[in-house]
Symmetry: C2
Subunit: 421 residues, 2 copies
């Protein structure tokens, strides 16, 4: 029995307050040899272990990539189908038919590339390829839900790539435990999403949609629109989360002469804060009642899931407008619908739902004063070209055994990125 040094696997699992570091190496016959070490969370030992583990994993990944680049890979892409729209725009690469524009490149390198939109259930096209695929590419717009069960079944899986931003459709602890790498194209559509947020703020605040509906229905009733239409100027806008998208939104809001607030775990550096002109609110519950408009810009994690429930919404000002392009599951679905019906929330807009596609009976389709669409803000043609290029770049690095741009990793070296912990 001889160890095959290039195929070392390094696995970190997290369970409760204890972490167990497992260093295993795939033997020639494929069976793992586990080495288990108990590790106390929060201790200095943990930090030491992490550092040591990082170095080891760095070598392990490089080794694996060098190994994997030698052979042909099975890559599966799950995207939304374009159908009749596929040929309408040569830059429409984000759909099944466009396949990120990388089919020729992948096949010329000897890899196989399966693309589908059929992602749900045991009889789906995706399910057929789970067992032997090496790479899965999917998007937040038409997410392939990568559960712990699917990860267990995916014995060859090495890499999960998100064409876009937001990898919450993946069971990240399970992916980490299985030693997979999860990465997204950070920054590829932050501008797209921030622009869309500002659009939805204006649509709701200015009461645009009833006016549009009047036009197409042959009507004309200015009062029916104007009695609840407001300027953005002078209003208080608060963002829950001021990461990449939140900051881009604040920058775009600046010339509108609003009162800008932000809540986040950390304060933006003072210079940027001054430039943006937004005030830090350490206590979310203290910020909520001050806002005329609240924008959700936080990732979906176990901490933020269902965060905006009935109690949280009750803390907001009566007549508040909420825009959420982050993730649907951050909200309590029924609490949002109820608050729109009662009028406590004067408008709710966004492009994210749970699950996606939203079922026909999803209450947000039918609640009053909404500005909802399918999940589109991050999949403009401009964004598609950027995230397609980002996916190609990461695949190229994967084949060559090179690291990805650091900010793209969601799971790297056995550890979740900090915002997912």
């Amino acid at each position: 029995m001889r160890w095959r040094s290039l195929s070392i696997k390094f696995i970190v699992t997290s369970g409760g307050r204890r972490l167990t570091l497992v260093v295993s190496s795939v033997l020639l016959d494929g069976s793992p040899l586990p080495l288990s070490l108990p590790l106390c969370s929060g201790s200095g030992i943990m930090a030491m272990w992490r550092a040591a583990a990082g170095k080891l994993l760095g070598r392990a990944l490089a080794s694996r990539a060098a190994h994997t680049s030698a052979g042909s890979k099975k890559i599966v892409g799950v995207f939304y189908k374009a159908g009749e729209y596929a040929d309408m725009n040569p830059n429409f690469v984000g759909c099944v038919e466009g396949a990120l524009g990388i089919r020729g490149w992948l096949e010329s390198k000897g890899h196989s590339y399966i693309v589908t939109d059929d992602k749900e259930g045991l009889n789906s096209e995706l399910e057929k390829h789970i067992e032997d695929m090496h790479v899965l590419i999917t998007t937040p717009f038409h997410p392939a839900y990568v559960t712990a069960e699917r990860i267990k079944k995916a014995k060859n899986l090495e890499l999960l790539l998100t064409a876009g931003i937001g990898s919450d459709h993946i069971d990240l602890p399970a992916a980490a435990a299985a030693g997979l790498t999860v990465a997204e194209v950070t920054g590829s559509n932050t501008v797209s999403v921030a622009e869309d947020e500002l659009m939805r703020i204006l649509i709701l605040l200015r009461n645009f949609l009833p006016g549009y509906q009047q036009v197409v229905q042959g009507e004309w009733n200015v009062a029916g629109i104007a009695h609840r239409a407001y300027d953005l100027e002078g209003k208080t806008v608060g963002t829950v989360g001021a990461g990449r998208i939140g900051r881009l939104l604040l920058q775009r809001l600046k010339p509108f002469n609003c009162n800008l607030l932000y809540h986040d775990r950390l304060r933006i550096n003072p210079e940027l804060e001054r430039e943006i002109g937004a005030k830090f609110e350490e206590d979310l519950d203290a910020m909520l009642p001050k806002c005329d408009i609240i924008v959700i810009n936080t990732p979906l994690t176990e901490k933020t899931r269902g965060m905006f429930n009935k109690e949280k919404i009750a803390k907001m000002k009566k007549g508040v407008i909420i825009v959420n392009n982050a993730r649907g599951a951050i909200m309590d679905t029924q609490a949002v619908a109820d608050a729109c019906s009662s009028g406590h929330v004067a408008g709710y807009g966004g492009d994210v739902w749970f699950p996606q596609p939203a079922p026909k009976d999803h209450p947000w389709r039918y609640m009053p004063n909404h500005a909802m669409t399918p999940h589109i803000s991050g999949t403009t043609i401009d964004a598609q070209l950027r995230y397609a290029a980002g996916v190609k770049d990461m695949l190229d690095r994967y084949f060559k055994g090179e690291d990805f741009p650091e900010q793209n990793y969601i799971v790297k070296e056995g550890q979740l990125a900090s915002q997912y912990q």
Copy 2:
């Protein structure tokens, strides 16, 4: 027969290239004594006459105002009706029911105040009061069309006030010839309109409306939206007209990282131009083919009426987006509808039509890829409060015989404001 010095009327009419200055004085028996002087356009004599006329008129107006403040006035307001929406918002002052919030104040001063939305035809409520009203207040959102015929009939009329901005519903040469004063509340809703323009740019460019329609119809088809959705970042935006609203739009566009162009008669001062970051385009026809997005921000005058016809639209880039919150009659209605149908124009949005209310069969209601609403952008609740205060201020000055803020005058001292000449 004795002249009544406080009731001097000073009338300037313009006809072709000749101006005739008529100085008349109402006699005690009411008949005018005209004094007519030929005046060559463009000559130095004209400038001299204008200066002299201005001084004379200044005295005449002051005298008239002093005279008129003594008696009670009949003031007519034409606004849109709110009906069921009237009581939904205490700040909803811009409707018939709200009556600008000045009824109590006017009546306490002994004036009569008639308010209606019934403005068309010889049997309308407005028509009943034309003969003896002193002041007419109307809005661009539900305009009372003040024709030369109506002006002729309105023997007591002294003042035409626009609650808002844009007085093209008034036959301005006829109003000037009749010695009337026409004024609006300049600046009262420029921010409101600029915000709305940016909203419509985003709605069209990002293809929001088909997504919204999918949601309410129980559908989900990301491709149907995404295949023609774009970011604003990096696009070329040109404004035709860079007055108050055009500049506010450019300032709000700045953080979107667009290529900003503007066409106007005059260049913005270099410092402001640098601050806004927009490039001056002297030749409109040279600017049009450069733009991904064109925004109309020019007043409706005889020069701009029907300006964007088939030929002008053909000069624009295929796939251009047009936003027009200025006036509907600046466009050739059918040319716009045809260009949207052919796809040469990828989207057309705005809130202005001709006539208003738009008839049920107006082609803009039914053309593809539009983002039209009734005329609402300048009548947000915030704007209503501002223009109601502005109207009250001008009425107060009128009663006291004081001048209005200079920028409010459309017709003053027998001369049209420069942009209407």
